[in-house]
């Protein structure tokens, strides 16, 4: 009798385990993100993850997937070395088929991991033009900096008459690419790069750089850096006698720059988002984000919201077709989908995994959102 009871208990335990295992498999769809969660660029990590988290909430609320979608964050500290550690952990330990990345240097460092392990990596924040050439498992949901420079260079030279441009750029792949683009684009529109000054990513004192910049007598100063460093740079340029207009790229679109009194009047480019798009996805994103965070979303928020939404769309299509959610299948599904209805835009991917979006010219107005100067075309 004891043996029968023991067998019955064992059979029950095994079947219960099998059920639990099956339900766990169905429940756990996990994606990853390697964002800077500490250090000088942690503000970006906070912004990026707010968009990604909201998309996860929406996908789960809609029961888009058979199980629950989870997102695991690893701290890249916005440095390539930490980014690689974070990506390796996500791919090898958390076994994610899809992960988010940010920053040009980090993205370039982690892309080979995605290519080798067939894991899709989506960037919605880094804008170095090289990011278009990192293989078919690396996708970008943000237009790259070469498009931004091609829009602002003619504006500064032809519209504003600011022909002599001085560039301050951070010595990393992003800064190098902006230097290259400005060097190519300015002569085409009648402008001139009168000085270029590279700064290390860790620099915090810029009074000496301001003296060097003043020395070349520019009409406008273009800066290509990001995070806390760009806030320090703007303040110290203004404090140290640089009264010329300042210009930059989409990294300016963060709260600490938008709120800085010294940043008022800075020209910058960013991708154009149709905030008034009358579709349920955009309306829901706008409403829920403002309700949750008490402020309007920025373009970075929308990009990472859309990046996770992209995973949701592709994974749901794969589940419907009875295919497993792997990087390989996600790539095939993306190639088979002509366009995606996302928050603020309808997106189509180019063959190189990038998206093209209109680039607008903005000015820091001190209201936290920026003033539109020239709409994107």
């Amino acid at each position: 009798m004891k043996s029968v009871i023991a067998r019955f208990a064992l059979a029950n335990a095994i079947s219960l385990g099998a059920v639990l295992l099956a339900s766990a498999n169905a429940a756990d769809v996990t994606v990853g993100a390697a964002f800077p969660m500490s250090g000088d660029n942690a503000e970006y990590g906070q912004i990026f993850s707010s968009g990604a988290n909201l998309a996860v909430e929406h996908i789960n609320a809609d029961k888009k997937l058979s199980g629950k979608l989870n997102i695991v964050y690893e701290d890249s500290q916005a440095t390539p070395a930490q980014g690689v550690i974070a990506a390796n952990k996500l791919v090898n330990v958390s076994k994610v088929p899809f992960m988010l990345s940010a920053f040009t240097g980090v993205s370039k460092a982690v892309a080979p991991i995605g290519q080798r392990t067939k894991t899709v990596i989506v960037n919605g924040g880094g804008v170095g033009p090289d990011l278009a050439t990192l293989g078919e498992y690396f996708w970008n949901t943000i237009p790259l900096a070469n498009f931004e420079v091609r829009v602002i260079a003619p504006y500064l030279v032809k519209e504003k008459g600011l022909k002599r441009v001085a560039l301050i750029y951070v010595d990393d792949p992003l800064g190098q690419s902006i230097l290259k683009e400005l060097g190519t684009e300015l002569p085409k529109v009648g402008g001139e790069l009168v000085g270029s000054f590279s700064i290390p990513t860790t620099a915090q004192q810029f009074s000496g750089v301001a003296a060097r910049v003043r020395d070349v007598k520019p009409d406008v100063v273009y800066f290509a850096t990001y995070g806390n460093q760009e806030v320090q740079l703007i303040k110290q340029l203004r404090d140290n006698g640089i009264s010329q207009p300042l210009a930059s790229y989409s990294a300016v679109d963060i709260p600490s720059v938008q709120a800085l009194p010294e940043a008022k009047g800075v020209y910058y480019t960013s991708q154009q988002i149709d905030w008034n798009k009358q579709d349920p996805t955009t309306k829901r994103m706008m409403t829920d984000y403002q309700a949750k965070y008490g402020k309007k979303p920025t373009t970075y928020v929308v990009n990472y919201y859309n990046s996770v939404l992209l995973f949701g769309e592709l994974a749901a299509a794969l589940e419907k077709a009875g295919k497993p959610i792997t990087g390989e299948n996600l790539l095939a599904q993306r190639k088979a989908t002509p366009s995606f209805e996302f928050a603020g835009s309808t997106v189509s991917f180019e063959a190189d995994g990038t998206v093209k979006a209109p680039i607008q010219i903005m000015e820091v107005a001190g209201d936290g959102m920026g003033k539109l100067l020239v709409p994107g075309k």
């Binding site: 500490s38 000088d40 290390p200 620099a203 004192q205 003296a211 404090d239 600490s256």
Partner: protein
């Protein structure tokens, strides 16, 4: 004119570096505790000032007093509740260092949670440069930084050479066992070293908030400067820390006349490396035989 401008910039940066390094040098020199959380004291003082001055708008005297209280409390409590406990259990130099480093990380994260991860700045007309002559821009803040450094180092020199407490602190740095013979206690003097060292960082934190801004992760940079200035100046020598801070700040700026800004920070480490190679005891360091 570029060179004159860079000299003025170097003076301001150097005086700030000297102020930053003084507290760490004092604590390390007197207690031999590698106070890696010195950068955290700096951050706490800066944010306390920012909160009272820029957010609560209670005026700079109240803000400065709050910053002093916050820094002093943090330094003294850290010594009493963390370092003293480890030392009582005969924890090694590295155990204390690891604990200090851990506290610095905790402080960084707590500040990030409380104030956000972005940069905050104190807006003041004193940091805006005025064109003195064609091409020479100097801010009133430069004079304030230099004056503050002179006053702080003057007071400190008086304290260490003319008062019983100062003599006791120097004795603690020289021979901690022998001071017990004279009826002094290591623990009590150590508390004073942390109190004074922590308060010393406050002027630098306030001036940095007004000139370059504050962010939760700036403690690492503060520690780098403190360490470099302490080694170059000579461990335990406040004169050395002041001179080394000034030397590093001047070098960082003057090198811009001939090299690209990208390499200006590397100059600090080249100087440090040269001192380690050719004068390991620092400018005012003494040869030690064992």
């Amino acid at each position: 004119m570029l060179l004159v401008q860079l000299i003025f910039n170097g003076l301001q940066t150097g005086a700030l570096y000297a102020l930053i390094a003084a507290g760490f040098s004092l604590i390390f020199g007197m207690t031999r505790v590698f106070h890696a959380a010195h950068g955290a004291t700096f951050t706490i003082a800066g944010y306390a000032f920012y909160e009272v001055y820029s957010v609560a708008h209670l005026g700079w005297p109240a803000a400065a007093l709050t910053a002093i209280a916050a820094a002093a409390l943090f330094g003294v409590l850290l010594d009493r509740w963390v370092y003293a406990v480890i030392q009582r259990h005969e924890g090694s130099f590295f155990t204390v260092f690891a604990a200090s480093f851990g506290v610095a990380i905790v402080v960084q994260n707590v500040i990030a949670m409380a104030f956000g991860r972005g940069l905050v700045t104190i807006t003041t007309p004193l940091s805006k440069s005025i064109e003195l002559t064609s091409g020479l821009f100097v801010a009133p803040m430069t004079a304030i930084v230099l004056l503050t450094a002179l006053i702080c180092f003057g007071l400190l020199q008086y304290l260490l050479t003319k008062t019983n407490l100062g003599i006791g602190l120097r004795a603690l740095g020289e021979n901690p066992v022998l001071i017990e013979v004279y009826g002094l206690t290591q623990r009590k003097l150590s508390q004073y070293a942390f109190l004074i060292g922590s308060i010393l960082v406050v002027p630098a934190a306030i001036l940095t908030a007004a000139t370059t801004g504050l962010n939760p992760s700036m403690a690492h940079h503060v520690m780098l400067i403190s360490l470099a200035a302490t080694i170059v100046g000579g461990v335990g020598s406040l004169r050395g820390a002041a001179l080394a801070g000034m030397l590093l700040g001047m070098a960082e700026n003057l090198c811009l006349a001939i090299i690209d800004p990208q390499w200006s920070e590397a100059v600090t480490f080249v100087i440090l490396f040269l001192f380690i190679l050719f004068r390991p005891g620092g400018v005012y360091g003494r040869a030690v035989t064992t």
